[in-house]
Amino acid sequence: MDALDLARWQFGVTTVYHFLFVPLTIGLGVFVAGLQTAWHRTGKEHYLRLTKFFGKLFLINFAMGVVTGIVQEFQFGMNWSEYSTFVGDVFGAPLAMEALLAFFMESTFIGLWIFGWDRLPKRVHLACLWAAVIGSNLSAYFILAANAWMKHPVGYEVVDGKARMTDLWAVLTNSTALAQVPHVVASAFIVAGGFVLAVCGYWLLRTRDGMWRGAARGALVMTAIAGLVVAGTGDMSAKLAFEQQPMKLASAEGLRHDTAGAPFSIAPGIEIPGVLSFLSTGDFGATVQGTEDLQQRFEKEFGPGDYRPDQAVVFWSFRLMIVFGLATVGLSVLGLWLTRRRRPMPRWLSRMFVLALPLPLLAVTAGWLLSEVGRQPWTVAGELLTAASVSPGVGLTEVAISLAIFTLLYGTLAVAEAVLLTRHVRNGPEEPQRAAVAERREPSLMY
């Protein structure tokens, strides 16, 4: 165990943790904004109650997304100073743009939304929420453009041992990013959809109030549409990986040697012939490169070393991502069918919604493991190895201390957040009468 291993663990722990909250912020924000828009348009009170109710859950989660995100921006400099010095010229630009163009908007307007219920005209107040939500989604684009560059670097040249940007537009329209952004953002809507469904499921089992069925229908539509986008862009990503990240593709499939008409492996030993070739090129007979042959080619190009990522992690995370993701989307399609034309929500389905709560979160976590473990041993594909990216001046003890602190703190906060969310879900929305009285006293979303 050395500083490099711990620095990698720290990045993994803090990033996976951060991304439990981010998708909820992105997706739930849009859902709440949709509810408030519905209230604004129709004036029906149950929309307002739902806006306040889900708004509160959204804010509890929003806080966690914000504070865990701060760590991310400092971490590159703290643990990965060689990486930061090498890539800053290119990689720093989308990060700076994210702060300037997205975070300012998100943070400023969310403050206006929380505290502006009785100070702003209704229309302006609603616009503030939309501005905050757009900020969240925009930030996803910039950070994913930066991330995509690590896997498929474009628009740069290496001068004096540092990457120098030559084309910002190329960085921002990287084909890898254009496939990844809708994939990740749509998966965020699935996570949020799964969350809303679990909450609605809980209440559908307890009351006859029609508003829960309505909210659940909304979430079902959102999840099903997002599912289509995720599947489509996932297919795009696979085809791009075939060209840009062949080692990741081969590892995800456990394909050891270059194979024409490569089979798709469902689990070790169960294969469907030709399907991998078809999925990655559109041609059943195409040749897909295998890990062992790629390893030999990489050794010839980059010198001795092991260029294969952890095979088990990449292979299984790929499958778990698909299984958990499909299960969530499948459940939503089933729900849409069963509740068509004013049919009530079956009780067993409500129960399933509650039980399925962890599935989309597991799916996005598996997706990130596939994406980032599959990138190893590189931080910047073909340019910089992870082992050469770490801070030379930071010792094992320092990384160990910070890893321990963050893990402890994050663990505690996770429990607190779970308890807090559960309590507010159980309390439910305020009764129509009480909501109106409380509103005159003090808006319920304030401190």
């Binding site: 400092f74 400099g77 120098r164």
Partner: protein
């Protein structure tokens, strides 16, 4: 272009210190200047709508450093590793505490988080920059205590400016007490910066004390804000020659293409940011009163 980006980054840090400076002070003081929970919430609501946006000044400053001076960014945060970890811990517990306080069964935990999470960064930023300039533990300690005191003063004046009743009265007393502590500290900390802006900052702090005494809260706040701006300007003027020991700005800088691109983006986006953040302060310009019926 390199100088321009150094100025932009100094501007962003300065904005951060001025804005989050009073957030830290308010976070630290709210439990101590309030007689009950209603007043406590009154205090925190003065920063409620704005603290998150204020914190983005830090995120943007750091992001701009990463993009414009990668070697400075990575050198600074890997060199001050453990202090930065503690700053991050502070910002985490403070943010969560502020957002969760009104929604939990035991707000005392959130209050603890807000106080500690405000004190840690308020002290540590001063310590980090003082250490960077003077390279000694004593300087770091003096710098840290000075910025902590400055944040308390700045926050107390802000509370007096933005509240009514008991909180306003007590905050004024705290501000007077704080200036009695900060002024001698400033004599040590600012004189070692040995520059004209630092000297004027001293004057601004003295003026702030007098203005609080005369209950001119708006002008007192202007004076404490000016003191922070001038201190920050003086610090960055000193850093310009060597942002890190043995590193020059030119060595640390990104290429001209990146800096040009970033300049255009910054030039277009920053005015919008300033306008809508300014608008937030306009919307919430009234003094915060205690809610009619505290929980």
């Amino acid at each position: 272009m390199i100088d321009l980006w150094f100025v932009i980054i100094a501007f962003l840090w300065t904005g951060y210190f001025v804005l989050e400076g009073f957030d830290f002070g308010v976070g630290l003081l709210s439990p101590f200047v309030s007689a009950d929970d209603g007043e406590h919430r009154q205090g925190l609501q003065t920063i409620g709508p704005v603290w998150d946006g204020n914190e983005v000044w830090l995120i943007t400053a750091v992001g701009a450093m990463f993009a414009a001076f990668p070697a400075w960014y990575s050198g600074l945060f890997s060199a001050f590793y453990l202090p930065v970890v503690l700053i991050l811990v502070g910002l985490i517990v403070r943010g969560v505490g502020l957002e969760w306080r009104g929604k939990v069964s035991y707000p005392a935990w959130c209050d603890l988080g807000i106080v500690i999470g405000s004190a840690l960064p308020a002290f540590l930023w001063g310590a980090v920059f003082a250490n960077l300039l003077f390279g000694s533990a004593v300087a770091a300690l003096v710098g840290g205590v000075f910025t902590l005191g400055l944040c308390v003063l700045h926050g107390a004046v802000f509370l007096a400016l933005k509240t009514d009743g008991g909180v306003r009265r007590r905050s004024r007393l705290v501000a007077l007490a704080a200036s009695a502590v900060v002024l001698p500290l400033a004599a040590v900390a600012l004189s070692s910066l040995d520059s004209l802006p630092a000297l004027v900052a001293m004057g601004a702090l003295a003026a702030a004390a007098a203005l609080i005494w005369r209950r001119r809260e708006g002008w007192a706040f202007t004076a404490t804000a000016a003191a922070i701006v001038l201190t920050s300007v003086s610090v960055f003027a000193d850093l310009r020659g060597a942002p890190l020991p043995g590193l020059t700005l030119a060595e640390a800088a990104s290429g001209p293409y990146t800096l040009t691109m970033l300049s255009w983006i910054g030039l277009i986006a920053l005015p919008f940011v300033l306008v809508y953040q300014g608008w937030t302060y306009w919307v919430f310009r009234k003094r915060v009163r205690v809610a009619v019926a505290p929980r």
